[in-house]
C-alpha cells in the first residue's frame, strides 16, 4: 500500500494539468469506444452481412452503393412462418410473465406478511426449486407433456414455467422492506388481506414487479431447449428454435439468415434499452439469491 506512484500532476503548471486531464479523458473515450466496437462486433457483423445481398463470400464492410434493406422484407416472404414464430414467442412470453407475476406475488405475500405455522417448511419447499436444475426434471416433464397431448400447444410451452422460485424470493425480499406496521394499521382499519395486497402493497412494489416482468419476459423469449422438445411442426416453433431451423434450411443464404436473426433480436434489444434498470436490478438480485 505504499506510495509508489505519486500524483505527479499536482506540482505541474495549471495549463499542463489541464492538458493531462484532457488527454486522460480522450484516452478514456478511446478505450470505451474501442471496447464497445469489440462487444458489438457480432451484431455489426450480422447487420453488415444482412445488407450485402446474396453473396457467398461476404466482406466485413458492405459496399455502400449496394446496401440492400429489402432483405428484412424478404426474410418474411421467404419464411412464411416467421410471423407465426414471433407471435408464438410473444404469446408464450407474455403469458409466462403474467403467470409468474401472479403466482410469485401471491406466494411472496404469504411468506412475507402472514404469520402461520410451518412457515419454514414452505420456505424451504420454494428454496429447493432453485437447487434443482431443469436438466434433472426435463425427461419426466417431456414424457408428461407428451402423454397429456400438449405437444404443439401453447399450454405445453407456457404452463411448466408459470411459477418461479427466483420470482418468489425477489418479491418476498421487496415486500419485507415495506413496513409491517402499514399492514397492521390497514388491518385495524378493516382492510382485508387480499385488499391490502391489491390496493396497497402492489402499487408500492412496482419497481420489483417491473424487475420480475422484464426478467421473466427476456428469459422466456430466449428459451431454446424446451421449445425444441415440445414443438414438432414448423408453425408451433418459437423464434429461437425457428431461426436455428431457418439457418439450416437457408444455409447458403447469409443475408437472409442474418436478417431473420436481427428481426428476432429486436424485441429483446428494445426491452434492454427500455428496461435496463429493472433488468440490472433483477440480475444482481438473482445473483445474490442464486
Amino acid at each position: 500500500m505504499s506510495a509508489q506512484v505519486s500524483p505527479a500532476y499536482r506540482e505541474l503548471h495549471w495549463g499542463t494539468y489541464q492538458a493531462i486531464l484532457l488527454a486522460k479523458k480522450a484516452g478514456t473515450y478511446f478505450l470505451l469506444v474501442l471496447a464497445s466496437m469489440l462487444v458489438l462486433f457480432p451484431l455489426l457483423f450480422a447487420l453488415s452481412l444482412a445488407l450485402q445481398g446474396e453473396t457467398i463470400a461476404p466482406t466485413l464492410i458492405p459496399d455502400v452503393g449496394k446496401v440492400d434493406f429489402s432483405v428484412f422484407g424478404q426474410a418474411f416472404s421467404k419464411e412464411k412462418h416467421l410471423w407465426r414464430w414471433i407471435l408464438n414467442s410473444f404469446v408464450v412470453s407474455v403469458a409466462v410473465t403474467l403467470g409468474q407475476l401472479l403466482t410469485s406475488v401471491l406466494a411472496a405475500y404469504a411468506l412475507s406478511h402472514l404469520r402461520f405455522p410451518a412457515k419454514p417448511v414452505f420456505f424451504f419447499v420454494f428454496l429447493g426449486t432453485l437447487m434443482i436444475p431443469w436438466e434433472s426434471t426435463i425427461i419426466p416433464n417431456y414424457l408428461a407433456i407428451t402423454s397429456w397431448g400438449w405437444k404443439d400447444t401453447y399450454q405445453g410451452l407456457i404452463v411448466p414455467f408459470l411459477a418461479s422460485g427466483f420470482g418468489i424470493f425477489l418479491l418476498r425480499q421487496y415486500f419485507l422492506t415495506i413496513p409491517y406496521d402499514l399492514y397492521e394499521a390497514s388491518v385495524i382499519d378493516g382492510c382485508g388481506r387480499t385488499r391490502y395486497l391489491w390496493s396497497i402493497l402492489l402499487p408500492l412494489s412496482r419497481p420489483a414487479l417491473g424487475t420480475l416482468a422484464v426478467y421473466a419476459f427476456l428469459s422466456t423469449w430466449n428459451q431454446y431447449y424446451w421449445p425444441l422438445l415440445v414443438t414438432d411442426s414448423t408453425e408451433w416453433r418459437t423464434t429461437q428454435v425457428g431461426i436455428a431451423v431457418f439457418r439450416s434450411s437457408e444455409i447458403a443464404v447469409y443475408n437472409l439468415q442474418m436478417a431473420a436473426t436481427l428481426i428476432v433480436l429486436l424485441p429483446t434489444l428494445i426491452l434492454l434499452i427500455l428496461g435496463q434498470r429493472q433488468l440490472v436490478r433483477g440480475l444482481t438480485e438473482g445473483a445474490l439469491k442464486g
Binding site: 506510495a3 471496447a35 406466494a107 378493516g190 439468415q257 436473426t261 426491452l271
Partner: protein, 341 residues
Amino acid sequence: MSALDRPQNPATRFSAAVKTHGDASTEATLDRLGRPAQAGSRRLHRRWQDFGWALLYMSPALALFLTFTYVPFVRSILLSFYVTTSTGEPSRFNGGKYYARILNLDGSGQGEYLQSILTTVEFSLMVVPLSMITALALAVLATAKVKAIGIFRTIFTSSVAISVASAGVIWSLMYAPNVKVTKWLVEVLHLQPDNLLNNASTALAAVAFMTVWTSLGFNFIILLAGLQAIPQELYESGRLDGTTGWTAFRYVSLPLLTPTLMFLCIISTIQCFQAFTQFNVLIGNEGPDKATNVMVYALFTAFWKDNRYGFASALAVVLFVILLALTILQYRVLDRRVHYQ
C-alpha cells in the same frame, strides 16, 4: 372487501373453536382492549386464519412446483434405475448399472461419458477465466466518470438481451470459412484453413469463445455492481497515500471484489455445465471426434435421439449432483460475502 372475502375463506374450517366470527376491525379492537384470555384465542384464531389464507395464496405456486419440479425430479431419480421402453415406461429394474456405465466402473473400458464430463470441465476452464477478465476490464472502464457513460454501459450489457440461439446463428457465420474476417483470423493465428467448427482441436475453443461473448453482459452487470458498492472513501483515503490508477485497483478494488469474483466464478461454471444451445446450434452433433460432447449434449443424445430415458435420467442425476455441489459452494461463498460487508 373483507365481506367479499369471507365466503370463500378456507380458514373457517379452523375456526370452530371460536364462536363469533367478527370482521377484522372488531377483532383487532378487541385485541387492543386487551382481555387476555379472549385476546389470546383471537390471536390463535388469526394465526389459523392466516394459515388458511397462506395456503390459498401459495397453492398455485406449490401446485406448479409439485407438478413440474418435485414430482419429475423424483421420477428422474427412479427412472435412472430402470431400463425403459420407447415411451419412457420403466420396464426392467437395472440397479446402479447406468451409473457404473457413466463413471466407467463397469469394466467395459469405454470412458466416453467420463470424457464427456472432462470435456465439460475443459469448456468451463476456457470460458470462465476469459469471460471474467474481459468483464472485469469492461466494468472498470465503465466506472469512468465521463459524459454519456450510460450509453457505454448499455452497450456492455447488451449481450444479456441476446439469446444464445441467435448468437449461435451469428457466430456460425463468423466461423464460416468463406467469410473474409475468419479467413484473416485463421491466417494470423496459423490455424487450419478448414472450418473452425469441423476441426477437433479448435471446435471446443470456438464454442467457448462464442460463449464468452454471450456471458459478458451478465458478468459485466455483476462486477460493475460490485465495483460501485465499494465505498468511495476508501479510494479517497488511498489517494492521500498516493494510491491511484493501477495500485488503487490492485490494493483497493480487487481485494474488496474478491468475494464477488469467486461467487461469479461459481455461477459461470454452473452455467457452463448447463450449456446446450450453443452446441446444438453451432455444432449440431457430438462434434468432430466427440470433441464437443459436453454433458448436457450427451444427455440430449441419449434422451432425444436414442430414446434411452433411463440412461439419460442417470446422466441427469449425475449432472444434478455436480451442480448441487457447486450450488452449495456458492451459498458458502455468499455467506462469507454477507459477513464481509
